[in-house]
């Protein structure tokens, strides 16, 4: 898909009709739309996103107010819609989404190739075929929220990335094959009339009945949590923008980051304690038996044997030379020789000694573990307690900040703080509910695996139902093959993504940092030259996030796809970014801009004058095919308010105007 044109009618801050013709594909395929904060960049991003998906980006507020207020005041019947004209696989289409009521809309998609065609009967499904639901948020991205993009390997993140990589279809097929297996196994249980099989199958079906609902619930909670987190973050951003609350909010952000580190560190320590107790507790239990065993070994070692150590070579020499070390003869067949050979039969040989030594070392280890167990465990527990104390202190400080914010005599701050507090409580509750449901899912999945194994072992013992058994075996072999192939392809895709990420980081970062993707969780880590995790909240971490989005978008396109089998249909979509560089350190803005332009098939940037620095301008100027400006017009006199301007190619753009007929945003081509 590539975008050709968007038309907005009375959409939020945009009064009447506003149009953008996007830059065509080719060397200059970047469309830049300039606008100051509050002018309507996020509204414009959401207009396109809403038209194509029916959804909004998480940070957009008041989503029920889509019809422009002035238009509604002038005409109760005023229309509000967004039309997007796009091309897909050489065919042209028009998508129009119209507001039909509060939170209600209708969608039409019309093919345009041979004049205006007949609207599709299932327009949303058609659009979802072009940009699958899970992928859309990667292509229409509110980059001001880039800091909130979690690369920490959450279930939702992993699921969405799997969709982008095209593995979701294979996952679904494997789930369905599992259902096929379950159905066949159920008929086998009936065919062989085994109570044992019946019971296992029944237990299995019960879990299979509840598990999908639990997974769906977890997915829904994750989405709700993401929205609640975005809301907290938005409100905190607003508190940071007010001079009186800024210092307190800054302190709160720092404290919350510290709290997060403490909680992570506490969890790591608790895991270490669990592992340590699991590994060492048996040693402590058997340590009391170790000492007598040690003594026993010494007795066994020496009893009736040549005392260790002795030289086997020396004995061999005596027997060969038939002369003892004292010079007395040891003739063949003599009683001396018989005595030496008798002793040798029960001698402490090297191999025997080694075995005894190994056991002795093991016993010493057990003893050493027993001796240090108490102190090591206490040390780990002390560190957990220190973390607990730190967390409690931080919580007190956070409460204090909240109190101070509530005491500020400014209505807007008090309202924001109240809303933030409610949103944070909601996020906390959702997070707790999610933890509970995730725990249930994990336990049920483990139980299901056990039951499957039990079923297989029991079915093997029964000789009946051979035909069904053959079918079961066939499904199993096929499932195993697909799962094995998928695993390989998944590793290959993640490897390609990692290579692409590291290519970007090598080219653009001044430091020797690299990225690593955990193949199990999909967590993306940023590592320094010594391989230490440097965290993703640094300036370089922000570059990593941009690099990640562009690498994912590029991978979802055709560029690297031929190397991966089992992928869904290739998805080539425009990359539309709102406020792409504001979250980045200035030193990286130019290189990220260059990378975005190089990696995407079509790039649309909604950008403020502050973010359009020299480096960004230099990187993008030769890629820009179309340029627009969103002008914010205000009713009433200018007074002391500023008129904002920006200079591009020696021309001055005016970004806001006063004494306007109405409050509105207008889009002008530049």
């Amino acid at each position: 898909m590539f975008l050709q044109r968007v038309l907005l009618r009375n959409f939020r801050g945009f009064y009447g009709d506003q149009t953008i013709d996007f830059a065509p594909l080719g060397a200059n395929s970047v469309t830049v739309i300039h606008g100051e904060n509050g002018a309507g960049k996020t509204n414009l991003l959401n207009a396109i996103f809403w038209c194509l998906t029916g959804e909004f980006t998480p940070r957009l507020s008041n989503i029920e107010m889509l019809l422009n207020k002035a238009a509604r005041d002038e005409d109760k019947e005023a229309e509000c819609f967004v039309e997007v004209t796009f091309k897909h696989e050489d065919k042209q289409y028009l998508a129009r989404r119209t507001v039909t009521g509060r939170n209600l809309s209708s969608l039409e998609v019309i093919p345009l190739d041979d004049g205006v065609g007949k609207p599709f009967t299932s327009p949303q499904q058609f659009l979802e075929k072009i940009i699958p639901k899970g992928l859309s948020r990667w292509f229409f991205f509110d980059a001001e929220a880039i800091g909130e993009l979690e690369l920490s390997g959450s279930t939702q993140f992993r699921q969405e990335l799997r969709k982008v990589l095209g593995f979701e279809l294979v996952d679904r097929l494997l789930e369905d094959l599992d259902r096929c297996l379950s159905k066949k196994q159920s008929s086998l249980a009936k065919a062989v009339n085994s109570k044992e099989l019946d019971a296992i199958q029944e237990a299995r079906e019960k879990i299979e009945h509840v598990l999908p609902a639990q997974r769906d619930k977890a997915k829904a909670l994750e989405q709700q949590l993401a929205i609640a987190d975005a809301r907290v973050s938005k409100l905190e951003g607003e508190l940071r923008n007010l001079p009186k609350s800024k210092p307190l909010q800054d302190s709160r952000s720092r404290l919350e980051a510290r709290r997060k580190n403490c909680v992570t560190s506490k969890k790591e320590l608790q895991d270490r304690i669990a592992r340590y107790v699991g590994d060492s507790a048996p040693a402590v239990l058997i340590a009391s038996m170790a000492a007598p065993f040690q003594d026993q070994l010494h007795v066994k070692e020496n009893s009736g044997r040549l005392p260790a150590p002795f030289s086997e070579q020396l004995v061999e020499d005596i027997l060969r030379d038939a002369t003892c070390v004292c010079g007395r003869p040891v003739d063949h067949g003599s009683c001396e020789e018989a005595k030496i050979k008798g002793l040798m039969r029960s001698a402490s040989t090297t191999a025997f000694n080694q075995r005894v030594r190994a056991i002795q070392y093991l016993l010493k280890d057990i003893e050493a573990t027993r001796e240090t167990y108490g102190t090591s465990l206490a040390d780990l527990q002390r560190r957990v307690e220190t973390n607990d104390t730190d967390i409690a202190e931080i919580d007190d400080q956070l409460k204090d900040i909240k109190r101070q914010l509530e005491l500020i005599d400014e209505d807007s701050i008090q309202t924001l703080e109240r809303e933030r507090s409610a949103a944070a409580t909601e996020a906390r509750q959702l997070s707790q509910q999610l933890a509970v449901i995730n725990d249930q899912v994990t336990k049920n999945e483990a139980r299901l695996r056990d039951l499957k194994l039990q079923y297989e072992n029991t079915a093997k013992k029964l000789g009946h139902g051979d035909a069904v058994k053959k079918q079961i075996d066939k499904i199993k072999r096929l499932s195993d093959y697909i799962a094995g192939t998928l695993k390989k392809q998944e590793l290959r895709a993640l490897n390609l993504l990692q290579i692409e990420l590291n290519r970007i980081l090598t080219n653009y970062l001044t430091k020797h940092y690299s990225a690593r993707i955990n193949p199990r969780t999909y967590e993306v880590e940023l590592l320094d030259a010594q391989g230490r995790d440097v965290g993703r909240s640094t300036g370089e971490g922000q570059v990593l996030k941009f690099a990640f989005i562009t690498a994912v978008v590029a991978l979802a396109g055709r560029k690297t796809q031929e190397k991966i089998e089992f992928l869904a249909e290739p998805t080539v979509a425009p990359l539309v970014l709102d406020a792409p560089f504001s979250a980045l350190d200035p030193e990286y803005q130019g290189s990220v801009a260059e990378n975005l332009a190089n990696q995407s098939t079509q790039l649309v940037l909604l950008i403020s004058s502050a973010a359009w620095g020299d480096a960004v301008a230099a990187a993008l100027e030769h890629h820009v095919g179309k340029r627009y400006v969103i002008v914010s017009r205000q009713q009433g006199p200018r007074g002391n308010k500023p008129v904002k301007t920006m200079r591009i190619n020696d021309q001055v753009l005016t970004l806001n105007e006063y004494d306007a007929e109405r409050d509105e945003s207008v889009i002008l081509e530049f």
Binding site: D176, R179, Y481, I482, R558
Partner: protein, 68 residues
């Protein structure tokens, strides 16, 4: 030459090379897996997603026809 055709030729060559390096058994599984994947895509396709029991029935029928 048309770029699209060229890309398709390259993709076909890559596939042929991959199949060539597989064992006879894997080649059979590979072909069956591809057919099932296409069937699953059609069954889940936007516009007409089929319910679970229909998908399971259709997949079982398809597996029955596979000869391995």
């Amino acid at each position: 030459m048309d770029v699209k055709n060229l890309l398709k030729d390259i993709a076909d060559e890559v596939t042929a090379e991959k199949l060539g390096s597989m064992s006879q058994q894997d080649r059979i599984y590979h072909a069956a897996a591809q057919r099932l994947l296409m069937l699953e895509r059609d069954l889940l396709g936007p516009g007409a997603p089929k319910p679970t029991d229909v998908r399971v029935e259709r997949l079982l029928e398809a597996i029955e026809k596979e000869n391995f």
